[in-house]
Structures are given as C-alpha cells and as structure tokens.
C-alpha cells in the first residue's frame, strides 16, 4: 500500500498521546499511564497482511505501525525491528517467514577458529549493510511521513543475542561449557559491534534509544553466573562505551524471559537520564510490577508487563485483569511507568486483547502522584 492509501494520523489524538508518552520520561503531568504493546508485525494483521509482507516492506511496515498506534491509542512511535538483526551483515542467511519475524538459517561462525578470525564491522560498513539499510528505510519513512512519531531506536539486543545471530545457539551453549573463554571473546566482539551500530544511528539521526538487555540470556537457559559473565558484564561495558561515544542517550533494557535469578544484577547496569527497564517473567509467571518498582522504581522508568501468551491466547477479561493489577502497582512509580507486553505483541494476537490492555490503563492507570 503506498502512502496515499493511509489516512493521516489524527492530530488531536497525536497531541494527547504525545503528552501521555512524555510523562514517564520527564515527569510532566498528564492524565494516565501510556501503553506500549510493542506493536510490530501485529500491525500487518490489521491491514490483512502477514509478517512476511511486513518485514519485506519496511516503509509500509511503519505506516501500518503508526496507524495501529492511533487505532489502539498507544505509544505514538513508529518502530521497525526484529530479533535476528546483524547476522546478515556478517554473511548469515535471513529467511523471511510468512507468519513470524525473519529468522537466520545459516550463521557465519561455525568453529572456534571462526570466532578468533571474526572481525567486527566498522560503523561505516554497518551503514552500508543489509540490516541498517532496511532499518533506515523504515526510520526515514517515519521521519518524513510521521515526523511527530519519529523516535529513532537501534535494535542491539544483548551480547548473547548478537553472538547467537553470528554462531548457532547450540554451538554457543556448548562452548559455554567446554570453552567459556571463546564465548567471552564472542561477547567482547558483540559488545564492540553494539557500539559501532549505535554510533551509526546517532550519526544519522542524533539522539536515539538503544534496545539492549538479555533475552537468550535468561534463567530458563542459563544460570546466574553465566548470565553475569556473558550478558550483564559485556552488555554493561558496551552501554558505557555507547554513552561515552555520544550514541545515546536512551537506554532500554529489555530483559525478556525468566529473570528470577539475575534481575537484581541489572539494578546497577549503566543508566542514562532516559533509561527504562522491562522484565518479562519471574519463573513461569509474569514479573510482578510491584517487584519491578520496588527494585527499579527509585532508579529509572519502569515498564510493567502483561503476559504475551495471554495477549495471544487469553481472553480479553484475563488480559484486563492482569493489566489492572500491573498498572495499579506501577502507575505512580517515582521515575515513570509504562504499561506494555512482556515482549513484542504476537503477530496474530486478537485485537480485542490489545484493546483490553489499553482499557485497563484508561480505567485504572490515572496518576495520583501529580
């Protein structure tokens, strides 16, 4: 669908949504908590398109996302990203899938020698590579067509996520046991890559938000010591370097998955004045916002979550009940609060469930602290 097939974003809505979105960052009073269901390919389903179409057409993808933001009354920002960024720049093969985000099918690092010989691309080379070429096509579209919904991000992932986009997860996990020093090397290189990638976005657009954190490195797959060594420590070093290189200032720690055993480490991760922490699960359960606020509320903006499984397969009443509990626990968090989903809104989630999430924020998310 070309740009003229989309209706313009309602300016009254945009003004109000912008005001709600500003509050968590700068404490400017507004009515209620903003909702960010992390809408990506889910937007395509609202236009009777699929995930494959979404990711093959980054300019259309962000138009769909911006339209979905207005439809659902959520964070007014046009995003485009997927988890398996950065593999293709180093020779991996990316497969566009009909009903899921793109996935890597063939990774460039296959042996220990490959790790030693692997060279991180410079900022200049990354700008010319497939990941940022596509990413910038999406961001340029937002900047040109929806300037008030433009807030550039750099999808970094954490060091383990980058590492497993370069080498297979089976190999990386085997090396963690047999040759952990090799994974250290890989994570150092992943950290260097993160700095170069962020610098590229900063040079093109100025201020931007880096999405980092720990997804593969979660409690279901790794123990605390492994998460500390291969994720928390190298990610922290990389974030420091990114900030020192002037490539921030936004830092979004996306701790997807179960972080019962390691969430406390992240309390001391490097933070800028625009830092947000989101934690998916506490064991098998959604991470309680009360616990999130207790540990991070006096440090940074908190992102409380509703279970994406519930958004995907639950009823609107179940979504509403969990969202109510989370938003009441978080709305007056001292340094700001956003209500959202534990991870990306599932592609085929029922729209009524996203609506239930937003309704809960409207019904129970009114600020009392202002």
């Amino acid at each position: 669908m070309p740009a003229q097939d989309y209706i313009p974003i309602d300016s009254d809505w945009l003004g109000k949504a912008g005001s709600l979105w500003t509050t968590p960052w700068v404490d400017k009073p507004s009515d209620r908590v903003i909702v960010d269901p992390i809408i990506l390919s889910h937007a395509a389903t609202l236009y009777r398109k699929n995930a494959g179409y979404f990711y093959s057409n980054p300019d259309e993808a962000v138009r769909m996302v911006c339209g979905a933001c207005e439809l659902y009354d959520v964070t007014p920002v046009g995003h485009y990203l997927y988890a398996d960024y950065w593999g293709a720049d180093y020779g991996a093969e990316i497969k566009i899938q009909t009903n899921a985000p793109p996935g890597i099918t063939n990774r460039p690092i296959k042996t220990a020698e490959d790790v030693d010989n692997f060279e991180v691309l410079s900022t200049e080379d990354l700008v010319k590579g497939p990941t940022l070429t596509t990413h910038y096509k999406a961001l340029d579209t937002v900047k040109n067509e929806y300037p008030q919904m433009f807030a550039p991000i750099t999808q970094l992932g954490g060091t383990m996520e980058v590492a497993t986009n370069w080498a297979s997860i089976e190999d990386v996990f085997m090396w963690m046991i047999t040759e952990p020093e090799l994974v250290d090397k890989l994570c150092v290189k992943a950290g260097d890559h993160m700095v170069n990638a962020c610098r590229a976005t900063a040079e093109r657009y100025g201020a931007n938000v880096m999405i980092t954190g720990s997804v593969i490195a979660s409690g279901d797959l790794m123990d605390r010591e492994q998460i500390k060594r291969f994720s928390y420590q190298p990610v922290s070093r990389a974030v420091r370097k990114v900030l020192n290189a002037g490539a921030g200032p936004g830092v979004y720690y996306h701790l997807c998955g179960n972080h019962t055993d390691d969430f406390d480490l992240w309390k001391d991760a490097p933070m800028s004045p625009f830092t947000i922490v989101q934690i998916g699960y506490d064991g098998q359960n959604i991470f309680p916002t009360s616990k999130l606020v207790e540990n991070f509320g006096d440090r940074c903006t908190c992102f409380g979550t509703v279970d994406t499984k519930l958004i995907d397969r639950g009823t609107p009443a179940q979504v509403y009940a969990q969202a109510k509990e989370q938003v009441i626990a978080g709305k007056d968090s001292p340094r700001g609060f956003i209500l959202g989903t534990a991870c990306e809104c599932p592609t085929n989630a029922p729209p009524v469930n996203v609506h239930a999430l937003v309704r809960a924020a409207k019904d129970f998310g009114k600020y009392e602290k202002f």
Partner: protein, 153 residues
Amino acid sequence: MDIKITEQADNLLKDNGVRKEEILDIIKNSESSGQKLKSKDGNTCIAKGASENLTIYAVYSASELLDVYTHKMNILGITGGEIKPVEYDDASDWICAKCGEVALERNVDMSYLGVTRPGPGLVCAKCGEMYVSAGMAKSTLKTAEAILEEKRA
C-alpha cells in the same frame, strides 16, 4: 601552577560560557585541596567547580588547559543511595588524587528542571566525590538537558 590557555582552549571556554578567571580558580582550588581526578599516568587532571546551576570541569596538564566542559544537571548522589559492590569491572581510567582510589564508573542521580534521573558518573568510593566524564557530559547529558528543556517548558 602556570596554566597556559591556548587559542583552542579559549574557544572552548567561550563555547561553554566560562570565563578564564573562573576556570583558573577551579584549577587553583583543586590543586590546593587535592580534590581532583588524575589520569593513571599522572599527566592529566580533571578539576570540578560546581555552582547551583552549572558544573564546570577543567581538563589540564601541568602546563596547559586541555579541555573544558559543563553540565546543567545537578549531581545529587549515588543512584540507589549508597556505593555497594557491583558485579562488573567498574574501574575507570581515573584516580581520585585526594584518596588515591580508582574512581568507579557508577550511576549518579542528577536533577534538572525538577526531574531526577540517573546518569553515568565517576565516583570515589572513599571520599564520595562525584564527577562526569567529558564524553558523557558533552553527549549524553547535553542531549538529556535539551530534551528536558523542550519537554518541561
């Protein structure tokens, strides 16, 4: 201590709205109190002068002013309230000249226009003195201040 101010340094002073006498005073006070950061090779120092609205830093060698930077965000204290051990290598390249301790890279709470948020700082665990590096002040904090000025207006 006779600090030379080159034309380049003079331009930096002008860009940051800092007077020559002011920066020389900051250096003089730091030298007499010992309250400054020193590079590990001992060749470079960072002195800090804080007023209510602006924190000014001088980076200097024994003979020359090398850099000047400022931030408006006011450092309040350690984020989370106290300096506890963290589980990553937080040692910076700087040493607190007064205590001889390596300055730690830690989050510090900073306030500006009524908003308090964390920021990346350099902290002496012994005396508790807090600084911000040139890289952080010139990029991260400058951008943060601009956003706060726009959004809090």
